[in-house]
Amino acid sequence: MDRTKHNDIIRHAAAMADKASFVADDFAQALFPQTEVVFNDRMLSNARQYLRGIIGEIEQRICRIATQELGVTQESLVKIGQGEEGQSFLLLEDSGLLKTTEIVQHLFTKTQRSELAARLLQKISQEDLEATLTRHLDHGDTTIAEAAMGLLVAQSKTTGAAGEIAANLADLSPEILYAFAWPITAALVRVAGSSGLQLQQATERLFASHDESAGVARKAERLARLLAQSTTEKDPTPHPMRDGLSLFIARLARQSGLSSDQIIAFTSEPNMARLVVVLRAADFPTQEALSIFAALDDGDHILTAATYGETDRDRSLTLVSNWTSPPVYQSAERILSAGFSGDQGK
């Protein structure tokens, strides 16, 4: 055994000892999940890959601004700015700084959205999916036509390779970029061993250049609003095969008063029960609802006309109305009512 390998084992063993107390936690989470949502290996792999990618993108942009605009010359930062692999990810992963609810929720939504896109691509080709938006390009209302063009362009920039989630900074909401960028900046300061002031300034410049309006989610949301407000042409019921995934989710979110992230989360749950309730509350025709369910399902489940028809609309409306409450309120209400009923749809 050579000396380097010997040192590696020593280092590894020491690291394992530091983390040993968390083994039981990890095993407990796998053994006793608190939800019925199943995270398959592909989702976990995609999430990790996306996380690495987005952290790499952010640290590269910060380093580029620091070196090119603020005159920072540290070699390690220059290299990261030039595209070499960064070192923030490992530091942040070990420190637990990535395990904030905000970041993990974002990862989950991104991953589930990617799952839905993959499911949809089993039923319709990428070309046909992209063509869905082109029907709005000739809309009588030029504002709608322009918004559709904007969404089309934004989507084309973020389409990753099949099965991958594109790590695109423009698609991060300002709140998420903020949550990622400051820990990354702190990690870069540690990696470079330099004063943090210039890196902080670089991060602030990154923020100032971030444009939320360029992201797919906001563009889809605006187009959904304009379509809903349009008095010249009434668009048919939202459908992922007719609207594409982003616009469909935005339209359904607008119609139901829920957020896009909630709609995506509903599709991850067994039998997509909450999605069905949303469709029923919005009074989607039976055939449309069944077709939407089939388009978004992973192939194991079936929604029948009888089941959909028997879902009580008034109760669905009440439930959807409950789900539009602020998340903190819903969470508090759930905790307070725990033990009284397991069938409140919460």
């Binding site: 504002t143 300002p174 602030e204 100032a208 971030h210 444009d211 949301e221 609003r225």
Partner: protein, 462 residues
């Protein structure tokens, strides 16, 4: 008013680090003013102010949907913030790229109730109909007993349309959902009184026409005509203000006030600052004149020997809330809080609804006028010795004890001037209170505020 949602250019504004609105295009300025803001003051649209704060905290440009509302409508906007580049640091630019207005759907009910109270205060009746002109609700002056009988009947079954207008013209206006102006109608039954109706089409939450709200003003010109015949061709009747000058002056004064307010708030575009101030002065002088006309009409009415008041069953707590509601904007202008009895409480009394409301509006109006900004006006109710009482207490300068009687005298201003008062309000209020079998008294000391107490007879058990 832009309602379509399409803007040829974004509506822009600029907000500084403290949230002060530095500049704004007319649409944004109108919304800011209607939300209680003032020029150069903090951005008063909470949703936009919050977005500016978030943009500043994150240091990023945001692009989000925003829903705001003013007195008339809800506005769906798409708003983009722009952190202004170095050199003009600490400023946030707002660009509103979509602007769509909808009629308000939240407290339309409360607004209608407030409008009805204004009508009742002016002695007008109000009628609410469905889309087929069937009466849903009716409150006519001096006709409370018959109100229930008319519900469900067509407006045209209760009233005759007076020529030269005819049913066809009225129905044409209804079919086109047009406002109905100055339509003279005569009651078919009972006293066959004449009214002039002003109708406003109503639109429900879904944007669908749902009927009309009519304000019915007793048509005094016909009565005036009879009087002048009796007077043998006298040019000016005994009822100079009530029947002749009052109605003739109110309409042009109303137009002067409305136009001057439009100019002063710069709703039609930018205007030199001193010109806007002149317009404010014109509106203020117009309101003063209108108040004077109303006071003189009332003075004339209460001094007639045949003056009587109705004895309605009223609730002083309800009246307190209505009167405070009518003056809520004026109080808010001076950051004055009106402390009211609990809405669930009840204090029954006997008195004419409209006249009791008039007294309370006068008392609260005076309290606002003579209280320091940011103070509190308290309304309390009590019952003792066969009387129901409501008191209005302010934190103003107070009144010397030797002046307690003088302030209830005609045209007595205690040397004050320029505050919009006519010196008739308290005189009229006390005479009205006495006419209803009650009283109006004051307790006050210099520098310790004033308390005016209206006492009305208790309701006798049935």
């Amino acid at each position: 008013m832009t309602t379509s949602g399409k803007l040829s250019q974004p509506v822009r504004g600029q907000v500084d680090v403290d949230g002060l609105l530095l500049s704004a295009d007319p649409l944004l300025m109108r919304l800011h003013l209607r939300s209680g803001g003032y020029e150069g003051g903090p951005l008063a649209v909470p949703e936009l102010a919050e977005m500016c704060r978030l943009s500043k905290r994150l240091g990023m440009n945001l692009s989000r949907p925003v829903q705001a509302s003013d007195d008339d409508c809800q506005i769906d906007m798409w708003v983009e913030t722009q952190i202004v580049s170095p050199g003009q640091e600490d400023q946030i630019g707002l660009a509103i790229i979509d602007w769509k207005e909808h009629p308000r759907d939240d407290n339309g009910h409360a607004d209608l109730a407030r409008e009805r109270d204004f009508d009742r205060l002016e002695g007008k009746g109000s009628i609410r109909t469905d889309e087929a002109l069937r009466i849903i609700a009716q409150e006519m002056p001096g006709n409370a007993a018959n109100a229930a009988e008319t519900i469900g009947q067509s407006l045209l079954d209760i009233f005759d349309v007076i020529p030269p207008s005819a049913n066809a013209r009225l129905l044409e206006a209804v079919a086109e959902r047009q406002p109905i102006r100055n339509q003279r109608m005569r009651e078919k039954n009972g006293a066959q009184r004449l009214f002039v109706l002003q109708g406003h089409p109503l639109v429900d939450k879904a944007g669908i026409f749902s009927g009309y709200r009519f304000a019915a003003t007793p048509d005094d010109t016909a009565v005036g005509g009879k009087n002048s015949k009796v007077a043998g061709g006298k040019l000016i009747s005994d009822s100079l203000f009530g029947l002749q000058l009052g109605p003739a002056l109110r309409q042009p004064l109303g137009k002067i006030i409305a136009n001057a307010e439009t100019i002063s708030s710069k709703l039609e575009g930018p205007l030199r600052g001193d010109y806007a101030s002149y317009a404010k002065d014109i509106a203020s002088a117009g309101r003063h004149l209108l108040d004077l006309v109303n006071d003189l009409s009332d003075l004339e009415a209460i001094e007639r020997p045949q003056f009587t008041v109705a004895a309605d069953d009223i609730d002083l707590v309800d009246l307190a809330h209505r009167a405070a509601g009518l003056l809520s904007v004026k109080a808010a202008d001076h950051q004055i809080r009106i402390d009211l009895p609990d809405e669930g409480d009840v204090l029954p009394a006997r008195g004419e609804f409209r006249r009791s409301l008039q007294i309370l509006v006068n008392l609260i109006g005076n309290a606002i006028r003579y209280s320091p900004d940011g103070s509190v006006i308290k309304l309390k109710v009590s019952a003792e010795q066969g009387f129901s009482r409501i008191s209005v207490t302010d934190q103003g300068d107070g009144i010397a004890s030797e002046d307690h009687d003088r302030i209830f005298q005609k045209f007595e201003r205690l040397g004050r001037s320029g505050d919009g008062g006519s010196g008739l309000g308290l005189f009229i209020s006390r005479r009205l209170a006495n006419a209803m079998g009650g009283s109006l008294v004051v307790e006050s000391m210099i520098d310790q505020g004033s308390t005016f107490t209206l006492a009305l007879p208790e309701q006798k058990p049935a």
